[in-house]
Amino acid sequence: MRKSIFSAALVCLLVLVISLPWVTAARAEEKYSSRQINWYIHASAGGGTDIFSRMAVIRLRRILKVPIIISSIIGVDLEDIQKITRALARAGIHEIEPNNPIASMIKDRNTGDLKPESLGERVLSAIIEIQVKRDRLRPVLRAVKGVADKVGSIFCLDVYTMLEPGVKVPQEILDTIRAEGYSWRPNAKINMGLGRAWE
C-alpha cells in the first residue's frame, strides 16, 4: 500500500499551523518568580482546559506568591485554518488528505469553507496535508504565500517528495520552490529506506 501511495504522490505538502508557546512578553532579567506570570492556554474560556487551569492557578498563586493571569492566546483559531483552506480552494487545490482531521471539518471542498460549528474554536496546532502531482506544486505554494500575512498565527511550510538516486531532490521541485520566492533549509528529514511491510 505504501508503495502505491508513493508512486501516485509525487509531491506532498504540510502546512503546519502551530501554536506560539514561546511567545511571551516577559523579560528574564529577574529572579523567577518575582513578577506576574502569564498562563497561556489554547482553549476557549469556560471549557475543560480553562477550568483546569483556573483550579490549578488558585493553588499555584499561594505557592509562588505572584499573580497568575490566564489568557487564551496560544494555539490557532480555526478561522485561520479556513483562510488557508479557502485560499487553496480558490487556487483549485482540493486534495486535502482525507484522513487528516482538518478534512473532516471542511464543509465544502470547492470553497474551502469549514463547518460553521468549527469556527470560533481554537486548537493547539493543526496540520493541513495536501498531496499533488509535481506540476501542481506551484499553485499551492503561491496560494500559501498569498494568505500568509492574513493568518493570525505562525505556520511552517514543508514539502516532501521522492528522492532521485544519490539522495538528489528533483530539480523540478527545487526550481519551483525557488521560482515562488521560497528557500529551503539545509537540514531536512530523510527516510533512509530501511522499512518494510509484514502485516
Binding site: L141, C156, V159, M192
Partner: protein, 216 residues
C-alpha cells in the same frame, strides 16, 4: 511528523546535531514489532546518543530513567526518538541498524549533504525527503533569532520556553550554573527526546560572553 525539521542555527552548529527516528507504521509493521524495536534501541544506546526517548515511557536519560527500564517499556508500535552530536555516531548507528535489518522505518533529520554522504558510505538508499520552506505568518511574534530560537527549536513541540533559555543564560553568566547543568535544565521540558544537550552546551558557551545581564 515534521517536528525536527525547523531546527535553527548555523550550518557549523548543525554539523553536530542529527535526529534519528524509529517509526513502526500502523497497518504495515506495527504488529509484533516490540522485539525488533528493543534490538534497535540497544543499537542506538550503544552508539552513544545525546538524548533518547521511547514513546512508551517518554522519559529522557537525564531524568534518571535507566536503560533497562526503557527497554522493558517497549511495546508493539513504540516509537524511538534520539539525537546524536556527531556524524560518526549517527553513521555507526545507521550501519548497525542496516546490518540488523529489522525492517522498521528509520528517518534521519540533519544536514542534507551530510546524510547524503553517509547514505553513500554505508550504501543506503533513502527514498523520501521532507524539506522545510521556513516559518511564515506572524513571525513578528517569534523570539529573536538566532540566540534564542536555536535552543527552542531543538524541541519540536516548542516545550522549551525562551524565558527558560534566557534564565539559564543568565545563571550561567553569573556562575550559578555550569554549561552542562544549564543544558540539562533546558532539555528537561522536552518530552520528544530530540533536544540535544551537547549542542545546547556548546551554544551556551558561545552565547554567554555575548549576553548582557542587567542585574547581578
Amino acid at each position: 511528523m515534521a517536528h525536527s525539521l525547523h531546527r535553527e542555527g548555523s550550518v557549523d552548529s548543525l554539523e553536530r546535531d542529527y535526529c534519528l527516528f524509529v517509526y513502526p507504521a500502523g497497518g504495515l509493521n506495527y504488529a509484533r514489532s516490540a522485539p525488533r524495536l528493543r534490538r534497535l534501541l540497544e543499537i542506538l544506546y550503544e552508539a552513544g546518543p545525546s538524548n533518547i526517548i521511547a514513546t512508551s515511557l517518554r522519559r529522557n536519560p537525564y531524568s534518571g530513567v535507566g536503560r533497562q527500564e526503557v527497554l522493558d517499556s517497549i511495546k508493539d508500535g513504540t516509537r524511538i526518538y534520539c539525537t546524536f552530536n556527531s556524524r560518526d555516531k549517527l553513521k555507526e548507528a545507521l550501519r548497525r541498524i542496516k546490518e540488523a535489518d529489522e525492517g522498521i522505518s528509520i528517518v534521519v533529520s540533519g544536514l542534507i549533504d551530510r546524510v547524503r554522504e553517509m547514505a553513500a558510505e554505508i550504501e543506503l538508499k533513502p527514498h523520501t525527503i521532507n524539506l522545510s520552506l521556513g516559518i511564515h505568518g506572524r513571525t513578528d511574534r517569534l523570539p529573536p533569532p538566532p540566540e534564542i530560537r536555536q535552543f527552542t527549536t531543538m524541541c519540536g513541540h516548542g516545550m522549551v520556553s525562551p524565558n527558560l533559555v534566557r534564565d539559564v543564560i543568565r545563571k550561567v553568566k553569573r556562575g550559578k550554573m555550569d554549561y552542562w547543568k544549564g543544558s540539562l535544565v533546558l532539555a528537561a521540558p522536552c518530552t520528544c527526546g530530540i533536544f540535544n544537550p551537547h549542542r545546547s552546551e556548546e551554544l551556551l558557551r558561545n552565547l554567554a560572553p555575548l549576553y548582557t545581564v542587567s542585574r547581578w
